[in-house]
Amino acid sequence: MNTPCKIMLVDDDKDDQMIFLSAVSDISTVIDCNCFDDAEQGLRVLQTNDQGRPDCIFLDLNLPFMHGFEFLKVLKNSSDTDLNNIPVVIYSTSSRDTDKVKARELGAFNFFSKPTSYTELKKGIADILTGIKCGQ
């Protein structure tokens, strides 16, 4: 992967942020990943476009204050087409079918259950990013 890629990770778990960043840097050095603990803050940054729009968002579901699905709903219902076209990957501990169905209904691009090994994590992120058009 040589095209620079910009990723946003919304996950309140610091350990998960760390391991995600580590996996991303192992996949490619040209991936820029921004982490947010809080969905509301992430949404504000996206709406104001202060840091440029990401190519892809990895979104946890069980977040404080604003649930991941709420974030997804607001994003996909946005009238700003640049915003509502950003692919959102649900990145959650959950592997529940109901969550997968809901994610699809709300317009998620993919559903990636957090794996239990670093190798699977790297492979999973790499596979997803293959399907993303970066740097557009």
Binding site: D12, D13, D15, D16, I19, D37, L61, N62, P64, F65, S92, T93, S94, R96, D99, K114, P115, T116, S117, Y118, L121
Partner: protein, 399 residues
């Protein structure tokens, strides 16, 4: 010109006659003769018994004669004469005993009351209808009361099912996310530890994460156990003094937080019917919340207010109303408060506003569960910088 006394007797529109103690008629006026269809001469000397119907004769023997003999008079006695043509003449009669000097005579006056029986029958019929209506009404009232009790029981069952359903959903979320997260981390970081040539700093980090995750699992399971056993194993209700509950819990918290100086204004609090252990827990967590989030520079201004209000005991069924006494208990602090967007959020299991705090986020969820299992409710209000107020509504009596 006035009517002569003799004329009055002959033209009076009522019957007047007299008879001896033996029952022999000595005088009868024109109206009396006309009603009974006799000539005046025919009646004089006739025994009164022969002018009465069979029932009238019995009545004469058992009531009429003994009454007038005993009291010297009677008024408004009803009995039946029989006219010469065997027609029943119902009459209302007054009588008086008169001593003529030749022995006592009974002087009577009567008027025929042909319509009386009809009216009486109508009254009796109306009375019967009214009694039937009252009975039907009582039966309906009884059914209505029974129905209301059944509806109330149903409402409580629906409410309980709603709470339980909500709890199952919450537990499902906890199992899917909150419990899975530390378990997954244990697996992920232990897998890393098993890798050969692992970096020392990563090894240390992995061990720290494993330790933190293990503690997190232990803490979660302990809290879940407490949360579930709270209402599963002990729901016996008795009279509980809220004043004693607040006093005890406040005392305990003052010892647990010796650095916090408390200024408390507490209203007179009533006794309610509830589960003592649960009510202690409810008050403990509400007051603990004030100690942890309502103090500024270790100064806690605490107010506990209580008023009795009427509330609808139906909480699930629509259009059903039955008002009963509830205590509205408000616990107020003058701390930093919080954004009122989170008024409901804070009562969810594992949700807390201070994400960096060590607490698990069960306290206010406990309070909500206890209030709902008492068929009450709890809500929070706050303005940033002006403190927070938690209001609990609890039924005064068992519902």
């Amino acid at each position: 010109m006035t009517t002569a006394k003799q004329d009055i007797l002959s033209i009076a529109p009522c019957a007047i006659f007299s008879f001896t103690e033996e029952g022999l008629i000595t005088m009868a006026n024109a109206y009396c003769c006309k009603i009974l269809e006799y000539e005046e001469d025919d009646l004089t000397g006739t025994n009164i018994s022969s002018l009465l119907t069979v029932s009238g004769r019995i009545f004469y023997q058992t009531h009429f004669y003994p009454l007038v003999k005993l009291h010297g008079h009677f008024e408004e006695i009803f009995l039946n004469f029989q006219s010469k043509s065997q027609k029943d003449i119902p009459v209302a009669m007054n009588a008086v005993m008169n001593d003529t000097g030749n022995g006592p005579e009974i002087v009577c006056s009567f008027i025929p009351v042909f319509n009386r029986r009809k009216y009486e029958d109508e009254i009796l019929f109306a009375k019967k209808i009214a009694q039937e209506a009252i009975q039907q009404n009582e039966a309906l009232e009884s059914i209505k009361r029974e129905l209301e009790l059944q509806q109330l029981a149903m409402d409580k069952q629906i409410s309980l099912l709603k709470f339980q359903n909500k709890e199952i959903l919450q537990l499902s979320d906890i199992i899917t996310h909150d419990l899975q997260e530390p378990v997954r981390k244990l697996m992920l970081f232990s897998n890393e530890l098993l890798q050969e040539n692992i970096d020392v700093s990563l090894k240390k980090h992995a061990l720290a994460v494993i330790q933190k995750s293990s503690l997190r699992i232990k803490d979660l399971l302990q809290n879940l156990q407490n949360y579930l056993s709270l209402t599963l194993h002990n729901s016996e209700k008795q009279k509980v003094s809220l004043a004693d509950v607040v006093k005890n819990e406040l005392k305990g918290l003052k010892s647990a937080y010796p650095e916090i100086k408390v200024e408390a204004a507490i209203d007179a609090l009533p006794a309610i019917t509830g589960n003592s252990q649960q009510l202690h827990q409810l008050m403990h967590h509400l007051l603990k919340n004030a100690f942890e989030h309502g103090a500024i520079n270790n100064q806690l201004h605490l107010e506990v207010h209580a008023v009795i209000v009427k509330e609808n005991v139906f909480s699930s069924l629509e259009d059903k109303y039955k008002y009963d006494d509830y205590v509205k208990l408000t616990i107020k602090d003058k701390g930093n408060g919080f954004d009122d967007r989170y008024n409901d959020y804070i009562f969810n299991v594992l949700k807390k506003l201070d994400v960096n705090s060590d607490t698990a986020g069960f306290g206010l969820a406990f309070c909500k569960r206890i209030a709902e299992h008492h068929f009450g409710n709890i809500k929070a209000e706050s303005v940033i910088g002006q403190g927070a107020a938690f209001t609990v509504m609890l039924p005064l009596h068992d519902v």
